[in-house]
Amino acid sequence: MTAAPFPAALAPVKRISLWRRYLRRPLGVVALAVLGVVVAAALLAPWLAPFDPNLVDFAITHAGPGDGHPLGGDSAGRDILSRLLYGAQTTLFGAVITCVAGLLLGVPAGVVAGYFGGVTDRVCSWISDALQSVPGMIVLLVVAAGTGQSFVVLMVALGVFMAPGYYRITRARALAVRKEPYIDAARVAGVTNPRILRTHMLRAVYAPIVVQTALTAGIAIGMQAGLQFLGIGSASTPSWGEMMNDGFKNMLTYPLILLWPSIALGVTIAALAFIGSTLADLISVRAEQPNRRARARVRQELAAPAPGDLPERVASGTHEHSVEDCALRVENLRVGYATQHGVKEVVRGVSLDAAPGEVLGIVGESGSGKTQTIFTVLDLLPSGGTAVADGIWVCGREVGKLSSGERAALLGRSIGYVPQEPMSNLDPCYTIEHQLVEPLRHVHGLSKAEARSRAREVLVRVGLTDPDRVLASYPHQISGGMAQRVLIAGAVAGRPSLLVADEPTTALDVTVQAEVLELLRELQQEYDMALVIVTHNFGVVADICDRVVVMKDGRIVETGPVERIFRRPEDPYTAELISASLDDTEGRDELDEVWARESAPDRPRSAAHVGGEDDAR
């Protein structure tokens, strides 16, 4: 809810074929064209090559380009161009064998391992890992050992070493797809396993396999050339690796002989690599980071003066206190994100304030802009977000007039932050002690011993009975409720005058929720902090808040003291929200009563009926 600033899922998905989107990428097109040339050269070699690749003409030994031999002759007096063209044949033939072998081994194993899991998965994965931890080159040289080696067998062996690449990618996709509801649905519907594998799994793994094949082909061509360079392969079959070996031996005297096959090999591999990476780009949905220009455009649009007197462009919400008396004051805040379709405004003119010792609730449903508002106050908007405001004051200082260093210095000292999800907000790699002590030492300048005793003290204050054990623990060793207390301890350890809490109880068990709210209330009174608490739950508001701001679609619809809002909500949306959160409990109670009555022994059957109605509603 807090992470996604705008609903990416709702963006219209244009179904353009992969092929047509590929053709829009210049680099991809060039790479494909280069590969096309290589393939054409290989296929047409018998017609294009001016000479037999093995024809020896001592007159052109080490000859430079010219005289009917466009690229000259090699050290044995053979035409280099002809050998390059036939070498392309060998290269591509080998690459095809390798890729097919890798595919046939890796993909079925990956699909099966990912789909069935269990022992199959463990065995396949062990084999895959084992293959990856064997230096393939040595085993390939073993396969090539002796004299009777066959090129096809060698390339198949190379394919075996390429299989783990296919295996891993297919298994990961199959695992992901397996968890999709539609697979469950297919199973429930009685579709057999082989059929699910054929129809759903293979479709899901198709695109990554194409990418993997482009990459595999590139690597396979490189390894093949390496083997040929080492002298593996038949002397009568021209190959680029063997040509490079010939050139290498004459590198100092006739560098051109080395140059031509090196260029052919490098360009072919690079083309395959770029084809693979272009395809990978197309099939992976990667959120691009908006650049500086895009951010500037967002800022400009957000700050644009109101056209006419559109009510949309006027600030919403009211201020209760004078600027000097506020722990927090926000004036006409707008937050926007750059999207493909222009600027998406998630906060559209919000004004609010909170005085020291006051508890302000910001209430609204998901996507109402409440979390974005407080992230702006913290100056920690997700990347891509841009905020514009007429003014934001924290503890009487206008944030916009501070340098970025001074602004950062407010964090942890003047503002404390309690996040929503306790477990994901602790660094899994460090002990609780480290995470509490680090800011105390390096932000608040305490000595190590002071910092530790302060951390311990605060942990006790937030109600943890065994602070030493908690300090020594890693986040995964404590419960969610404990983690939230630790986070509250971290937020108040620096004695801030403004505490911002983002749905601090949403992720907790119902029993813990009340305790945490009570704790926040106590701490707020004890340290005389202003507490701004974001929630979608009017129950929380009723428990703890002095004043409420009700937000909808990035604007404030109503601001007022809690009692008044509950008694006489001025905006119909507020009334709706209140009745939604309060009636809910009432409705549940009533339903339970009905359930109890209906499921009494004399009328057992209609109980299910009531449940069905409830679901339908």
Binding site: Q132, G146, F274, L411, P419, H476
Partner: protein, 313 residues
Amino acid sequence: MLSFIAKRLLSGILLLVVVTSGTFFLAYLAVGDPTPGLLGNSATPAQQAALRAKIGYDQPVLVQFWNWLSHAATGDFGTSWRNFQPVADQIALRVPVTLSVVVFATLLSAVLGLVVGVVCGLRPGGVLDRVLKLASVVLFALPGFWVSLVLVMWFAIELRWFPAIGYVSPEQSVGDWLMSITLPSVSLALGAIVMVAEQLRNGFIQVANQDFVRTLRARGLSNRRVTTHVLRNASPAALTVLALMFVGLLGGAIVVEIVFNLPGIGSLTQSASQIGDIPVLLGLTAVTVVFVVIVNFLLDLVLGWVNPKVRER
């Protein structure tokens, strides 16, 4: 901790046995009768039979396999079929050269991959990030020996900054030793550097968007300190890739050593492969797998140190 070490040791031994056994039978299938390759085609059948008896090739394959395995378990890898020198001695002579190059290349990949990965991860979409992306695409696929040929032509022959070929042992001169392994290591490492950097960059960006990073910032921690947290969380994937790269570097070293005329295991592997000297090939396989097992063990230790969750598994 002890059970962890024991488990890793066992799985390492298992890998070693499986791979060497596989290689053994593969080699027998591939080589067939080794004597023509060893003696040349002019040898008489009687000479061939004598050699077969001498190297034990006249016994059933399974007996030969058991002989090899039981001796190898005690560290005895037998003698070469060509010169009847102990395999272990020949390999021991050459391993320092290969290890110099491969370890140096791994260090280069780790250090440069770290620097480039973090710089790109801090500014995704920046100039360096885009350069890294292009470089990683090409360098990942280009074979080390191709790069090494280009580097030799450029730095050793054109510019004459480094010796083109040859190896100087560190006992002779540490400076010359470094000079002699620099170009081979760099040619091997280029691909690994970009792979490690790319992995680290992606992990870095992923971790930087996690909730706890926002919370760390909200506590007022400096950028440098937050970066340390992000880096630690992002490093396991990059370390795993680095360990995989080590395996790749070992294999790549074989060809690169030929280019630079280094007396490492590369030329030994090449010549053993050409004549079908199976004991040498098996010994080489065993030694490289041992290195891989050691590196994977070190990786597990480091991963456990970086992320406490791993330790408890």
